[in-house]
């Protein structure tokens, strides 16, 4: 067909109609190729139609940037290289090329694609009409390929946009659900449940030490496994370094670190390692909400602690007004109950005041002693609302400390807020009496001070001092002049009921030394230490002397923190 010259039996106008029919066919091709998004189909349709357009045959289709797409001629590498060089020299507009074996060869520039060509060859040069048809075909092919590529780019862009929108939508869903958790104050349980619903994976929330705080989803292990502290710390350090959700065994883990404080951990249990970006995003959002929740709880806890501390300080200062009552009510604390001020002094194996405070707090909670307490320079003041065996309380503190030292001074009963200051003073005085008497660590109550308590409650300390001077003045003066220890020797001798051995041991001296000192006392005072009346009078005097010393100390600033026990000076 496609004759350049009429064939015998070929109607005269048939050449023209064949040509027009070809043109019409190419127009249809333009439609078909333009609506086609598959570059392969376009090139197939174009290159396979060439035989219908005359004697020329396809040699090659060259697409700039993609290289040779269809070849039906010069397949050898050198020939292709030569042809490519010729195409580059055509400057994008098309023109004749040399192909071995073809008398005529032409590179038709593809429309809309600079540097791309449809290369055809023939044994004889095709007619002008047929060359025009080939030019049209090349033009349409180029436009269709450009169109397909644009469509592909559009589709790719649309797909990326769709993916981005999908990710955004998922992120919004996560954000919405987790915001709900925060707004409704669903707590750590609610948060774990929300993350489980969003991801489908079991979720664990742990404190920084690995203790489980919340769980959602199936397959919870009982008992909940907990890593040793060094391993846990190693994991936390790694997570801090990586600053994003990371794998830890069969889990994907993220940290809750409000303002840099590591408060907790949230984990997706994913043994198959299948967690994708969606799950990571959910976990990261969850970690943020957890950080907010834990920061809120810490803030509340700190605020409550501060309020409790302020309340205790006010009570110990003797404040007794409506604000104290209302603050106590605000904290849910009943001040209407009877209280005592208990002072716990001591320390654990390490000199860490917080360790001692926590030990007292736990013992106090365990024995329901009281919930209001405050730390003060090596001591903890507890407002005890329960009467308990105080020595048991002291032993409980020691157990919590795991060793170390502790002694308790228990003040008198408080029936109203104004009494706390007095009970506080009594507790302090009790401890000072313990010092004055060189007693070992124990729990002592103001109520049990006996005669000491009687002296303490006397308003005129001067009368007591005069009483002491009348009986012990000589010995006190002697001790002061000679730096001796006769008053203390006499005190311990009387406190031990006149037992020489026990007294010597208490004084850390040899019994002979004790006998010498007692003889010196007899010589200086003329007292008969075997006379019961004299012994009663002297014991009353030595106790009064201890009380006077303790009350005088009350009037001067307390000793420096950590000073511990004073050296016995009796």
């Amino acid at each position: 067909m496609t004759a350049a010259a009429p064939t015998p039996g070929y109607p005269p106008d048939a050449v023209l109609r064949d040509q027009l029919s070809n043109l019409r066919g190419l127009l249809l091709f333009a439609v078909l190729m333009t609506e086609c998004d598959d570059e392969g189909q376009i090139t197939h349709l174009a290159t396979s139609s060439i035989p219908s357009l005359g004697t020329a045959r396809l040699r090659a289709l060259y697409i700039e940037g993609s290289g040779w797409q269809a070849l039906d001629g010069p397949r050898a590498e050198p020939a292709l290289s030569q042809l490519e060089a010729q195409l580059h020299s055509l400057d994008g507009v098309g023109g004749p090329v040399r192909i071995p074996g073809d008398a005529w060869a032409w590179a038709f520039a593809l429309g809309g694609r600079t540097g791309s060509f449809l290369v055809v060859g023939a044994a004889v040069e095709p007619s002008t009409e047929n060359r025009f048809l080939l030019q049209v075909l090349a033009q349409e092919t180029g436009v269709a390929l450009a169109n397909a590529r644009l469509h592909a780019q559009e589709r790719a862009t649309a797909k990326r946009l769709e993916e981005t929108l999908g990710a955004l939508q998922r992120s919004m869903d996560i954000h919405k659900r987790l915001t709900q958790v925060a707004v409704r104050c669903e707590g750590q349980e609610g948060l774990a449940q929300a993350i489980h619903e969003l991801t489908g994976y079991p979720v664990a929330i742990e404190d920084r030490y690995g203790n489980l705080r919340a769980w959602a989803g199936p397959d919870r292990t009982e008992p909940y496994p907990k890593d040793p502290a060094p391993k846990r710390e190693q994991l936390l350090r790694r997570l801090i370094r990586e600053a994003r959700p990371s794998r830890d065994g069969n889990r994907l883990v993220a940290l809750a670190r409000p303002r840099g404080d590591l408060l907790g951990v949230i984990a997706l249990v994913d043994p198959g390692g299948d967690c994708g970006e969606h799950e990571r995003v959910a976990l990261e959002h969850g970690a943020t909400i957890l950080a907010m929740e834990l920061a809120r709880l810490r803030s509340l806890s700190e605020a409550e602690l501060r309020l409790r501390r302020d309340l205790v300080e006010s009570l110990l200062d003797g404040t007794d007004d409506e604000t104290v009552q209302s603050r106590a009510q605000g904290l849910g604390y009943d001040l209407g109950r009877s209280h005592r001020v208990v002072i716990a002094e001591g320390r654990g194996r390490t000199r860490d005041d917080d360790v001692f405070f926590q030990a007292v707090r736990r013992a106090s909670l365990d024995l329901s002693v009281g919930t209001l307490m405050v730390a003060r320079k090596g001591a903890v003041l507890v407002l005890a609302s329960q009467e308990v065996p105080w020595e048991e309380f002291r032993q409980a503190v020691l157990r919590e400390l795991g060793g170390g030292r502790c002694r308790l001074g228990v003040g008198g009963l408080c029936e109203r807020p104004a009494d706390f200051a007095r009970s506080h003073r009594e507790a302090e005085l009790t401890l000072r009496m313990e010092d004055a008497c060189s007693r070992a660590d124990r729990a002592s109550s103001f109520d049990d001070l006996g005669v000491y308590r009687l002296f303490c409650e006397l308003p005129d300390l001067g009368a007591v001092e005069r009483f002491v001077r009348e009986r012990l003045g000589g010995l006190l003066d002697y001790d002061r002049r000679k730096h001796s220890d006769l008053v203390r020797t006499l005190t311990l001798f009387l406190e031990h009921g006149g037992n020489y051995i026990a007294t010597a041991e208490a004084l850390f001296v040899h019994p002979s030394t004790l006998k010498y000192r007692l003889q010196r006392i007899r010589d200086l005072t003329g007292y008969d230490l075997n006379n019961p009346d004299t012994r009663f009078s002297l014991q009353l005097s030595t106790r009064a002397w201890q009380m006077v010393r303790a009350r005088r100390e009350e009037e001067v600033p307390p000793p420096a923190p950590g000073a511990g026990r004073r050296a016995p000076t009796c």
Binding site: T7, A14, R17, S21, H44, L45, S49, P51
Partner: protein, 201 residues
């Protein structure tokens, strides 16, 4: 007389030989099924030859809303496979196929009491490696002579995803009408059978 092709707005004249281009099976059925439905609704004899699927799949598609079995039993609808028609005996022969249409159409008009026949043939059989398939374009050209003999219309279905550009151009030249993308266009320059066959000599 104008014939409803079943696609909204598309009609054909008696004696039309239309080549319909489509892409893939779903696109084929968008042309084929409405064409047969419209024919059955009009009381026409419908002759259908399919190649890419078996006849039953076409019948199943029609069965959704038509009493197909009754129409098949009444010989109003014949859906046949290409191997029993175009490629009967394992080869294609133009004369035999023209005779097949002649016999089928005349028989329908004379014996089945219908006044119009609409035929449709899926042409992908021509892509097989069997003797005679190179007669395809010549056959299409011969059909142009056969169409005016009876009150009929025939639709030739060509899958653009499978036929080469060369064959499509030749098909375009030999069909007076083209159905593509839901539009029927006339080809005023189409070559009469003798002319096309002359170009082939």
């Amino acid at each position: 007389m104008m014939v409803d092709l079943g696609i909204p707005g598309l009609k054909a004249a008696q004696g039309d030989h239309i080549c319909a281009f489509y892409r893939g099976l779903r696109d084929r059925d968008r042309v084929l099924i409405p064409y047969l439905r419209a024919g059955l609704a009009a009381g026409d004899k419908c002759l259908c030859v399919v190649d890419a699927t078996d006849p039953e799949s076409v019948l199943a598609e029609l069965r959704c809303d038509l009493d197909v079995d009754r129409r098949v039993a009444a010989h109003q609808l014949d859906v046949l496979a290409s191997q029993h028609t175009y490629l009967d005996g394992g080869a294609f022969r133009t004369d035999r196929m023209i005779e097949f249409w002649d016999e089928a159409v005349s028989s329908a008009l004379c014996e089945d009491g219908v006044s119009f026949v609409r035929a449709v043939g899926e042409m992908t059989w021509a892509l097989r490696d069997v003797p005679g398939v190179d007669e395809l374009v010549g056959y299409e050209s011969r059909l142009n002579r056969f169409l005016p003999l009876y009150p009929q219309v025939i639709l030739c279905l060509y899958d653009l995803e499978r036929f080469s550009g060369e064959l499509i151009l030749d098909i375009l030249k030999t069909h007076p009408k083209i159905l593509v993308r839901g539009t029927v266009t006339e080809n005023p320059y189409y070559l009469e059978p003798e002319e096309f066959l002359a170009t082939r000599r």
